[in-house]
């Protein structure tokens, strides 16, 4: 077995085993050197064509000897045509730079997109460019997660959360990665801003379900945020200032590569201080990457992120420190034109440290550490068949400590390892059928020491030009989780690993989709999905989630009980990607139910109907109008139905009584945001001025009901979400 595997890899490395000429290389932006994802490379008058991968790499294979016109097209860039003459068995390495073109003809765009659509199974998948994200009206500054929340199938927990509730799943069921590194809590305190800096982001790929075997460890969705490499042609950068934060990014060519540095800091603390109000809170992010091309076939990249939320309220002896850190080393290597690889060593940390009362007070610490080694390889048999395979090893460490008066009240230390290998094939069987079978095998050390098989399968059938049917299915395991609290809003997500007392999460996805091009630049997608969810964890009702001396020998089932559930629904996505008017309408009809101890109830984020309209319109004279409207039926909640007298010696108070879980619903949520942007030149620089209004008609959306015990009868006061908030900002690029 080992021998045959070795021979297989050897054959892949020495492409003579699969004889034939090939053309390979990287497609890049000519002004920045940035790799272009999904560029179309094809031989005119020949049926050979392919899309560039995440790093901009492509290979056409096998190519019969002869003379051809090689065409390379990409949205927003001038199409390149090259005359080439290739001899038998020649391995032509050809890097191609494309020149950005502001006024790309819609026909070019459409044909380029159509080529990609013909070749890829992209069910439940959305690719968001930074430009799309920037065009949506946002509070103070553009945010990736807020834009994702406008997609069908995705809802936000609240205005104060960037958490993604994808097709009825919990927010911990999404695998969120920055360049392949897991980011555990990608939001700042209060959830209004996510961590990722758009100035340092190139692209974001989001898969809402049925994701392929290369991804694992989560039950619902995958978000892979891809950083910019950095400009290797010239020094460039951008600066932005808004009422709440400022940001700066620099891209500096260094040697055969580039250095990218980006940062952001908020100044709530300074603004409030000017108003004689004290709230000493701020956060900052820093994202950087440095890469060098060691040869045409080798690139080394070191990248990192760190961000902190800091609350130093010394007057109250209250300090909070919360942040993410990631660092990774990445080696990208082309073994042969057909064998492309990416190896990564990475570390990710998420920590919270809450101190109240100094040495004699309370100190609550949570540390999550993730050390990952992984390799992803692609073997391109031909432009119709690509085999992806790889491995991933994670050493995880979760630690919780509650200290009071210098004494440990509670400590939980888990140090599991997670190992996975996968293989998947993208095979264009003929002009109508594409199949994508895959298998992932996982192993987790903290539970019952079993191997878990996770088969995945996707298929696409071309009904006719621009019209497709797709289906995807798969089995998904999850070994680490945060806990859903159905009685209280979560402000900090704490991660735990399964142990021998609770089983890993398990989900099965089934998705059927229909996709059709409408008019020239618009795509309509219909998807029906059904997924089961087993072993999600929620707090035991009978135990307080905090405030007890539990000691150090704590097991998951001391705190949590497993729930199971299912979600099904239907999504409509009408997406106009390009043109003067761009944007989408998304509609989701969803049911999500859970059951606990034979009691079945609607999941906390079961939103039956959700409509999102997101658009931007080029008014002319360098003005752009952007608009977003969201309407969603109310989330379920557990109502307070009564109260009783509690008499504790000489102290009487009312204590409330809850009804059955999630039987009531909050009022419908709706909100309208809009903004205007003006583009202009000044001091030889390109500027953008934004004015935006969030919740324009000041809808009082309910966050939760807070009982007022002083009132008789007890009043349930509305704690609202965001009120109307105007903001302005200005930014420039150089």
């Amino acid at each position: 077995m080992k021998k045959s595997l070795y021979i297989l890899i050897l054959m892949m490395c020495t492409s003579t085993a699969f004889a034939g000429a090939s053309i390979s290389g990287f497609v890049t932006d000519s002004t920045s050197g940035e790799g272009l994802i999904g560029a179309n490379i094809y031989l005119e008058d020949n049926r050979i064509g392919i899309s560039s991968n995440m790093q901009g790499y492509y290979v056409l294979h096998p190519v019969p000897a002869g003379e051809y016109v090689l065409k390379v097209s990409y949205i927003g860039y001038k199409t390149v045509s090259l005359d080439i003459d290739i001899s038998p068995d020649e391995k032509m390495f050809l890097n191609i730079s494309l020149l950005p073109e502001t006024l790309a003809g819609e026909e070019v765009i459409v044909s380029a997109e159509a080529v990609t659509r013909d070749r890829e199974v992209s069910l439940s998948q959305v690719e968001l460019t930074v430009q799309t994200i920037r065009q949506a009206p946002q509070l103070a500054e553009a945010d990736l997660f807020r834009t994702l929340q406008a997609l069908p199938g995705v809802v936000a927990e609240s205005d104060f959360s960037t958490g993604l509730v994808v097709r009825g799943g919990n927010t911990d069921q999404n695998l969120i990665m920055l360049d392949g590194i897991t980011v555990y809590n990608p939001a700042h305190m209060g959830g209004i801003f996510s961590n990722f800096l758009l100035d340092a982001t190139k692209d974001a790929q989001f898969v809402k379900g049925g994701f392929p075997a290369e991804f694992g460890g989560r039950m619902s969705s995958v978000l892979n945020v891809i950083s910019k490499s950095g400009n290797n042609k010239k020094f460039s950068g951008s600066v932005g200032i808004s009422l709440l934060s400022s940001r700066l990014s620099l891209e500096i060519p260094v040697g055969n590569g580039s250095l990218l540095l980006a940062g952001r800091r908020t100044y709530f603390d300074k603004v409030l201080a000017l108003m004689n109000k004290e709230f000493p809170y701020y956060f900052y992010d820093f994202q950087g990457s440095f890469y060098q091309d060691l040869s045409p076939y080798d690139r080394l990249t070191i990248s990192g992120y760190f961000g902190d939320d800091v609350l130093d309220w010394n007057q109250l002896s209250f300090n909070l420190d919360w942040g993410n850190r990631t660092i990774s080393g990445n080696w990208q290597h082309v073994f042969s034109p057909q064998l492309f690889s990416n190896f990564m060593v990475a570390a990710s940390n998420f920590k919270t440290d809450i101190e109240l009362g100094g040495d004699q007070g309370v100190n609550s610490k949570n540390d999550v550490n993730d050390y990952t080694v992984k390799g992803d390889l692609s073997y391109i048999f031909s432009s119709r068949n690509t085999l992806k395979f790889g491995f991933e090893y994670k050493k995880l460490r979760f630690e919780y400590r509650d200290i009071y008066d210098n004494r440990i009240l509670f400590r939980l230390l888990q140090q599991p390892s997670e190992v996975a290998v996968y293989m998947q094939d993208d095979w264009q069987v003929n002009n109508r059928w594409i199949v994508k079978p895959g298998l992932r095998v996982s192993y987790f050390t903290e539970d019952k020491n079993e191997f878990y098989l996770e088969p995945r399968f996707a298929v696409k059938y071309k009904l006719r030009a621009g019209e497709y049917l797709t289906y995807a299915s798969g089995l998904y395991r999850q070994f680490i989780f945060t806990v859903q609290d159905e009685y209280n809003p979560n402000f900090i997500n704490s991660w735990f690993a399964v142990d021998q007392t609770v089983r890993p999460g398990l989900s099965v996805h089934n998705i059927i989709g229909y996709e059709r091009e409408l008019w020239t630049t618009t795509l309509v997608q219909l998807e029906f999905y059904y997924k089961t969810l087993e072993n999600m964890l929620t707090y035991r009702e009978q135990r307080s989630s905090v405030d007890e001396e539990l000691g150090t020998d704590v097991k998951a089932n001391d705190f949590f009980v497993p729930t199971s559930g299912y979600a099904y629904g239907f999504e409509l996505f009408l997406h106009k990607k390009y043109g003067r008017l761009a944007g989408w309408i998304g509609y989701t009809l969803n049911w999500a139910r859970q059951s606990l101890d034979d009691y079945s109830y609607y999941a906390s984020f079961d939103r039956r109907n959700n409509v999102d309209l997101l658009m931007s319109y080029d008014i002319g004279r360098n003005w752009r109008f952007s608009f977003r409207f969201n309407y969603g039926t109310g989330f379920p909640y557990t109502p307070i139905v009564g109260s009783y007298l509690e008499s504790d010696d000489r102290l009487d108070k009312r204590r409330v009584i809850y009804g059955p879980r999630n039987i009531y619903r909050y009022p419908a949520y709706h909100r309208m945001d809009f903004g205007f942007s003006k583009f202009f030149k000044w001091l030889k620089l390109e500027w953008q001025f934004d004015i935006q209004v969030i919740n324009a008609y000041n809808r009082e959306n309910v966050f939760f009901f807070d009982p007022d015990y002083d009132a008789n009868p007890i009043e349930l006061n509305v704690i609202p979400m965001l009120p109307v908030i105007p903001s302005v900002g200005i930014s420039t690029r150089f």
Partner: protein
Amino acid sequence: MKKRIVFCLFIVVILLINGCENTTEYNYEPQLTVNGELKAGFPIDSISLTWSTRINERYDTPDQLASEADVRINGLTLDEYSDYKGYYYYPDTNYRAQSGQTYRLEVYLGDEHLFSETTVPAAFQMTPLGISEGDTVQYVPGVSWFSDEFFNIVWPGYSGSLIYRILSMAEDDRPENFIEDDRPEAEVFKGEVEDRINPGIWWVADEYVRVNWMFFNWTGWHQIVVSAMDSNYYEYRNGILFGEQGGQNFNQIVEGGLGLFSSSASDTIRIYLVE
């Protein structure tokens, strides 16, 4: 093509119709509630019976006092105070709760039947450190729950309880004795000025308590009562989420109803507080 569109529209309409739901109605039926604490060495004189209330209804109304119930402790029938409806006592004041004894409460009222059981904790004695009974203590405003203590109270080696309740009761809580402190830190940790109540109540699971500014809102004589509480009380308090003064309690300790029926053994110290 037309057929396909019609079929898709048909499916969508069916789904939309399915997506409409009627509002759920839930009618909560009030439950019988019992509150009472058996104190080691004291007569049984304050068992209260009330009805819980629907959330949209007024509470503390006379009709919510559960009168004329059959209330028994270890088979002994309790009487109802004639001028305090819903409050019950055992008329023999020589009959006192004793440490180590188990008491079973049973209540019958119409179709309602509830019961609970408590074992009174062992006799409890505390030791104040740095002060003595009747001493004068200087009030120093603090900045958090954990500010420096005025004095400590300890009870090393006592193992009769898992949770201790500390009551700080001002004997004369007239407005002129009120300690005005509207600093932001006081409002964060003690609450709004108008919400500060007498007595103040705290809980610890340790063998000591640090008594600091948080325990006092009035000057003058105070009783500091430390009580070792029974397992009922411990279970009940553990069902309440941290910081939720009025929130849900998931650990009900009265079978067939609601409330807090418990027992305690206490010790008290008096101090005089000056600003």
